[in-house]
């Protein structure tokens, strides 16, 4: 039984979540889910900060997380507002629908 979790394991876990989120942005057509995946990425970042904060015995990381959470909230608010506006004109939330602007 391992008594300790190595920091790199935690960090790798964060990276995994981060890239799962990123992959979600890449492969999901539903904009709402894309927004969720971005939240996922931000969460991974938060955890990274906290992990480092713990490891370094430095509270800067935790402080950062506080702000990031707030910013994420603001961001989702704006993002969802945009989704609503878009839905009003397009009647849909499919990313493939928004390909008017190209080339």
């Amino acid at each position: 039984m391992i008594q300790q979790v190595e920091p790199w394991v935690v960090l790798s876990f964060c990276a995994a979540i981060f890239f799962i989120g990123f992959a979600g942005v890449l492969i999901r057509r539903n904009i709402l889910v894309v927004l969720m995946c971005i939240e996922l990425m931000l969460n991974a970042v938060n955890l990274t900060f906290v992990t480092f904060s713990k490891e370094l015995q430095h509270l800067g990381g935790q402080m950062s997380v506080l702000f990031i959470i707030t910013v994420a909230a603001a961001e989702s608010a704006v993002g969802l507002a945009l989704v609503i506006a878009m839905f009003r004109t397009l009647r849909g939330v499919d990313t493939d629908q928004i390909r008017l602007l190209r080339e």
């Binding site: 300790q4 990276a15 707030t70 989702s76 609503i84 839905f87 009647r91």
Partner: protein, 182 residues
């Protein structure tokens, strides 16, 4: 790191699985619920890492506020469209995206494993934080002293976001002429 491997792996496994489901589930509501699970799992890990305030905020803000907002919007829009469950994008793109992410992940894992932190541990050891009145207290004190600027800025940001969200999402209204100034 002095955290319990069992609980860590439990939460981590939960988070990983749920986040995969977020990406893979067709139904956005299902994705949203899985996301909530991820948030909870994260909250647990935060708590294990002695970030108690953050663990609480994670539940409050993320799981409580943001996800509710999401669900609210899903419900708001879902009413109109019958087939809200969208296909995922092109299969080729999916494979490429997955592959590239996996490669990157491997690179990062390799990097994490091979770079020990070169920094001496700082003054905020768990015991000293305890002595100073606990995580929440210390964090709050920092928030209003060293971190006063970002704190104030987030409030500005929130104000801006509110104005923006209102401007973009409000119902169409009659536009008054600029008038007066030519």
């Amino acid at each position: 790191m002095d955290i319990s491997p069992v609980f860590f792996y439990l939460f981590a496994g939960l988070a990983l699985g749920c986040s995969l489901l977020v990406v893979l589930k067709k139904n956005p509501v299902a994705s949203a619920f899985n996301l909530v699970m991820v948030f909870f799992a994260f909250a647990g890990i935060y708590a294990m890492l002695d970030a108690h305030l953050i663990a609480a905020l994670q539940v409050l803000v993320y799981a409580g506020a943001i996800m509710v907002l999401f669900l609210f919007v899903i419900m708001l829009l879902n009413a109109d469209v019958p087939s809200f469950d969208l296909q995922r994008s092109h299969p080729g793109a999916r494979v490429v995206a997955g592959l590239l992410c996996a490669v990157l992940l491997l690179a990062f894992v390799w990097a994490f494993k091979n770079s020990p932190s070169p920094v001496e541990p700082g003054q905020f050891s768990a015991s000293r934080i305890e002595a100073a009145g606990g995580n929440t207290r210390v964090v709050s004190e920092l928030l209003f002293s060293e971190y006063i600027l970002p704190f104030e800025l987030t409030s500005v940001l929130l104000l801006g976001a509110i104005v923006g969200a209102v401007a973009i999402a409000k119902r169409k209204q009659k536009v008054g002429a600029g008038g007066g100034v030519k």
